[in-house]
């Protein structure tokens, strides 16, 4: 009754502009290009993906050796020097990326699947399943995972990246499961689940369509963090030499450089040691820089700002 017509008038000042909802990809792109650091991170990650997918195709299956260029210094021909056989370190790093990255990717997939499913089930159904799952999660989180991996290496064949990824996933889902569970619980506290239930939605629908999008940011962040964590773990396993060397990768390079080539004391073997380290550090940098963007992409609270 007292609502005046002026409410319907066109707003004098368009401060609150409701943009048409942009697609996920466009808005993600916008978020990435907002800061130069994110762009750098994104480029680094793309570069590594490219390296993992196509790296081995760039070189012959058997990398050429050059007896005249053993531990050659850095040059145009050998941008990162050579190893004890005279093989280009750059070629070793590029061809060695596939195993490492693929296994880490698989590890992240397994982690996310286990962690998300168990966390959602635990937080949604509560009761008995919750206490069982949380006990197991406690257990997984308490057992020191790297020593466990080392012990498992005595029985498990890590030759296949999928096998490596599976073990890394099965030992590493604890943190994500806990985060997803607590997020689900907080949605429950806000009456979210009750409201959806009273609308007659099925548990499957509520879990998949209502809750999952709300835990998206945890999952996306965890995906990236698991990838880096897994890379370190597997490279570490190879570095320590507890896993038989079946394929060339960064960890094998590190191990040979330190324990066979004596790179710690001989300056000429240093590029052989530094090459895989550099590969690791640049990737870390890329992921750290990119995480910032991921946080904003998936975190609805940050998005509104």
């Amino acid at each position: 009754m007292a609502l005046p017509a002026s409410k319907l008038d066109p707003p004098v000042n368009q401060l609150v502009v409701s943009k048409s909802n942009p697609s996920f990809w466009t808005s993600s792109w916008r978020i990435i290009v907002k800061k130069p650091g994110r762009v750098i991170g994104f480029i680094i990650i793309l570069l590594y993906i490219f390296m993992g997918l196509f790296g081995p195709m760039l070189y012959p299956k058997q990398l050429p050796i050059d007896p005249n260029a053993i531990y050659a210094p850095i040059s145009w021909k050998y941008p990162l020097g050579t190893d004890f056989e005279g093989t280009s370190n750059l070629a070793l790093v590029i061809t060695g990326a596939r195993y490492v990255l693929f296994a880490a990717f698989m590890a992240a997939i397994f982690t996310v699947v286990f962690g998300t499913v168990l966390g959602l089930v635990s937080g949604y159904f509560l009761g008995f399943s919750d206490s069982v799952i949380m006990r197991i999660t406690d257990f997984i989180l308490t057992i020191p995972s790297f020593p466990l991996l080392v012990v498992l290496s005595t029985v498990w064949n890590f030759g296949q990246p999928v096998a490596m990824g599976f073990v890394l996933g099965i030992t590493g889902w604890g943190g994500l499961a806990r985060a997803v569970r607590s997020q689900t619980l907080s949605l429950r506290e806000r009456g979210f689940i009750e409201a959806a239930r009273s609308l007659g939605l099925s548990p499957m629908h509520i879990l998949m369509r209502e809750i999952l999008p709300n835990v998206g940011s945890y999952i996306a962040m965890n995906l990236l963090l698991t990838i880096t964590g897994s890379i370190y773990a597997e490279v570490g396993l190879f570095f320590l030499g507890v896993v038989p060397f079946q394929v060339n990768n960064w960890g094998v390079m590190l191990n040979l450089a330190v324990f066979s080539a004596g790179a710690m004391s001989s300056a000429q073997a240093l590029p052989y040691l530094l090459s895989p380290m550099l590969a690791l550090l640049i990737l870390t940098l890329g992921i750290v820089l990119f995480l910032d963007a991921v946080d904003e992409m998936f975190n609805p609270r940050l998005k509104e700002v």
Binding site: D138, F139, L141, T142, I143, P144, S145, F146, P147, L148, V150, V151, L152, S153, T154, V155, T228, Y232, V235, G236, F239, L240, G241, V242, L254, V258, M264, S265, L270, L273, M277, L280, L281, T284, L285, I287, V288
Partner: protein, 330 residues
């Protein structure tokens, strides 16, 4: 206080269950191993000319159970031995009890890990507070970035880097071995200073690799507490800066207790790298040695002890937490 004790006893029971599960895990792991090392050892001993009874006894001493028995009987035997603190005998150090080996190695690991933990905790927490308070200034972002980057660097890269820079490139500190072998161990000045000088780099590796974690957690915790009503109330009541900082620090540091135990697990995992790089005779190196020489009783023992240390520190931090947080004391 009663609440604390109930909580503590629940934790202890849970810890015992975890130890039991871990012990069972290593038992079945070794039994299920391709080529069954227990039977292989037995066969090897028989081949060397021992009678089956002698060989059987020897294997039993090593592993804590008798081959050829049904699996469940072996399992019962094994658990019984563990309950009596008998972890079997080492194969690679022939005849030496596993318990003796791991107890000799444990102090090297524990002292280094604890020193690194305390150092990184103090520095990381302080830096986290600064990063939170100055979060909109370049200083704050620089500190946060240092945390994210150091947090991201794997321990072995950190260890190799420090070792290279300070022992090869710039010969400042000794490398390898926990002390100078020419000195006689004991409470004498040169030996102790050698111990400390050798420990600097491994401790620094532990500390730098966990510094970032403390910093980032503390930062977000402080930011959360700064938004709490009671901090605003303290300001409006005119409490002194020092008092307010104390309120903030006390409240913000609590969530860190929950990750303290996790971080001990992380550091014990790192001991495999750090002791390997700096050649320390600790638990990590012992576990590696056991795996490389297929010394399964030693492997099970070392892994069990690492797990037990994590569980114990879990219980300890949980106990401390319930002491400092009145809300848990009910």
């Amino acid at each position: 206080m009663k609440g604390v004790l109930i909580r503590l006893s629940q934790r202890v029971i849970w810890g015992v269950i975890m130890v039991f599960v871990t012990a069972s895990f290593t038992f079945f792991l070794v039994r299920m191993m391709p080529g069954n090392p227990v039977d292989a050892k037995y066969n090897q001993l028989v081949m060397q000319g021992l009678t089956p009874v002698q060989a059987m006894n020897k294997v039993r001493v090593m592993y804590g159970f008798i081959p050829h028995e049904p699996l469940w009987q072996q399992y019962i035997h094994y658990l019984n031995q563990i309950a009596h603190m008998n972890l079997g005998q080492s194969i690679s150090y022939e005849g030496v009890p596993v318990l003796h080996l791991i107890l000799t190695a444990a102090p090297w690991t524990i002292i280094l890990v604890l020193t690194g933990l305390v150092a990184s905790f103090i520095v990381g927490v302080l830096a986290g507070v600064i990063a939170a308070i100055k979060r909109s200034s370049p200083v704050g972002s620089a500190i946060s970035l240092s945390g994210s980057l150091l947090h991201g660097i794997p321990q072995f890269v950190m260890g190799l880097f420090l070792a290279y820079v300070f022992t090869t490139l710039w010969v400042l500190l000794p490398f390898g071995a926990p002390y100078n072998a020419e000195l006689t161990p004991g409470l004498n000045g040169p030996f102790i200073s050698s111990l400390i000088r050798h420990a600097i780099l491994p401790v620094a590796t532990y500390a730098l690799s966990s510094y970032g974690g403390w910093l980032l957690t503390m930062k977000s915790s402080v930011i959360t507490v700064l938004g709490d009503d009671f901090i605003l109330a303290a300001e409006v009541r005119g409490l002194k800066m020092g008092t307010r900082v104390r309120y903030i620090a006390h409240n913000a540091i609590l969530p860190l207790f929950t990750i303290f135990a996790l971080s001990i697990g992380f550091m014990l995992g790192g001991s495999l790298f750090i002791e390997n790089i700096f050649d320390y005779p600790g638990l990590g190196n012992l576990l590696l040695h056991a795996i490389n020489s297929r010394d399964y009783p030693l492997m099970s023992g070392a892994f069990l002890l690492i797990t037990v240390s994590v569980i114990l520190s879990n219980i300890a931090t949980d106990f401390l937490y319930s002491v400092v947080d009145p809300r848990i004391r009910r």
